[in-house]
């Protein structure tokens, strides 16, 4: 039996719709196989490609574990969930949708904190006044840590937040946040402001290949056929 190319595609929402549109532009029709609410699919007219509809964050795990060969997912999720991304996956193409910036935002009233380095300058006073370091609410624990470490900021504690992160400073569970934003409107509505050098990552949806999946010749062929149709030059894995 031959090994089909496993292509992981977002299973719901805008990302799924936009992925289908992206494929459609190249004349490729994404179709579910079996039950309409099932999670398996195919691309019409492309043999050897098996589509798996998976949630965007699961797609990263599938690629990192080598269970999917290709996938469509946000760069933010890849960078957050794979510590050595360049060794595990290859970004084949930025797809121009699913755009979001991962940013550091502080209360607008913190007029003495405008750059990331200012956080460190206020840290000593903050600790003295409140007996703890600044709390940063985020679901991007690893991106935050790497970004702050690169900027020499060490005096902070991460509070994991899995939703409504923008509200945590006003609610008092955190002092500042690291979160995604597209227009900045939600941040402004919550009295927050992005630091001048506080953009951690300008993310968008990407077509990503797994370096660690098994790539026998027939899977390679299926990949080349798919990438050929999409007009993407294959990169070495």
């Amino acid at each position: 039996m031959s090994t089909p190319l496993r292509f992981a595609v977002p299973s719901k929402g805008r990302l799924m719709k936009q992925t289908a549109e992206f494929l459609a532009k190249a004349g490729l029709k994404l179709r579910k196989v079996g039950h309409d609410r099932g999670y398996r699919g195919e691309i019409e007219g492309l043999d050897g490609v098996e589509v798996a509809f998976v949630s965007a964050s699961e797609i990263v795990a599938e690629l990192n574990g080598g269970r999917a060969h290709l996938g469509v997912t946000g760069e933010d999720l890849v960078r957050e969930n794979i510590s050595n991304a360049s060794e595990r996956v290859v970004f084949l193409k930025a797809l121009g949708f699913g755009r979001a910036d991962v940013v550091v935002a502080v209360p607008r009233c913190w007029i003495d904190v405008n750059e990331v380095a200012d956080l460190e300058a206020t840290a000593a006073t903050f600790r003295r006044e409140h007996g703890r370091p600044v709390r940063v609410a985020t679901k991007y624990v690893n991106l935050t840590r790497r970004f702050f470490s690169g900027k020499g900021v060490t005096e902070y504690r991460i509070v994991e937040s899995l939703g409504a992160t923008e509200g945590t400073p006003a609610a008092g569970t955190a002092d500042i946040i690291v979160d995604i934003t597209t227009t900045g409107a939600t941040l402004a509505a919550n009295g927050l402001r992005v630091l001048e050098d506080g953009i951690i990552l300008r993310s968008q949806a990407n077509l990503v290949a797994s370096k660690v999946a098994a790539w026998p010749p027939e899977t390679h062929k299926a990949r080349d056929a798919l990438l050929g149709r999409l007009g993407i030059a294959a990169k070495a894995l």
């Binding site: 209360p107 913190w110 007029i111 405008n114 380095a117 300058a121 060490t154 902070y156 002092d175 009295g191």
Partner: protein, 392 residues
Amino acid sequence: MGTPPPANFEALEAQARTLLAVFIAAGHEAVAPPIIQPAGIFLNVLGESLRGRTYVFTDLNGEELCLRPDLTVPTCRLYLDRYASADEQAHYCYNGPAFRYQPVGADAAHPREFRQAGIETFGVADREEAEAQTFTLMLTALRQAGLRNWKLRIGDLGLFDAVLNAAEMPERWRRRLRHQFWRAEAFRTELKRLTTNPARSAAALPRTLVAALNPADRPGAEALVADYLDSAGMEVFGVRSVAEITDGVLAIAADAKAEPLKEATAAMIESYLSVKTRAHQASSRVQELMGKAEPGIAAALEAFERRSALLEESGIVMSEVPFSGEFGRNVAYYTGFVFEVLAPTLGPGSPVAGGGRYDGLLKAVGAPRDVPAVGGAIHTERLLAAVREDAR
């Protein structure tokens, strides 16, 4: 990566018995602090960067815990459990597992689980004596375990502190530089900024506000900041008060008005950090650079020379030991003398043993004040590999 092959078990056990016997004979009590530790203390002491190299997890009660990344902090906690006021001398030794996250594909010298054997000495006021004893005892233990070929390297954060204190600048700039010691790139960026444009963040604030602030008039400054926030429609929320924000704004205003750091001062700091010499010449090199006039530097050099003499007496040939001004072992809790032992086959990224002075750590873990503390630890899997290599 992962666990070493089972053939190593007996060899590691035998090696551990040898190492512990040396430590115990020198008066160190063997202790076994818990493997699972509260993550909060480590995060407070080592910072969030800890999460990048430690297994941190949440248990069923929602408590954040970690597998100890080393045995130094757990041994500090054990000491404070026994002596909450931290006013006793104590000499401990240990051998046990420690855990560090390694990305997939890390080499054999960087296993995620390894055994550390080491010593910690708390509360001994004679610092140089305690440092020399620690370093010497580590080398004795390594020799007893069969290691023949090694290279040493030393550094001294006390000397760096003295250099920084002698450099003319506001204390807040010193704090920032000291903080970046372990991050060479961030340190250089900060130094460059201070010499060229120390006016941090001022552009984001209205010039009129910055100009109107008078540091001598705290209440006046606070009123000005409150007015500004009010007129700009910025609601004050969260735990930081207007008083705190004013403090920050005053620091920005002070930086904006301050003369940049003198090029010569920055050059002096940089020249200290780039010192690379043999330990017996380090003191005279630093004297050439700095002059001995500054009392802080004279005292730090005296300590350095005394420690060197003690080490020389115990048989370490200091003319063969490299000293580097920027060497700080990449662990931000060291405050003074630091050392590493390298095996020729393992490379500088994988020291067989290392240690140093960390006088601020016990306070960070809960002691009422700074406590003199010095210690060292051996990466026992690396030691075994190096000993086997030696025997070939």
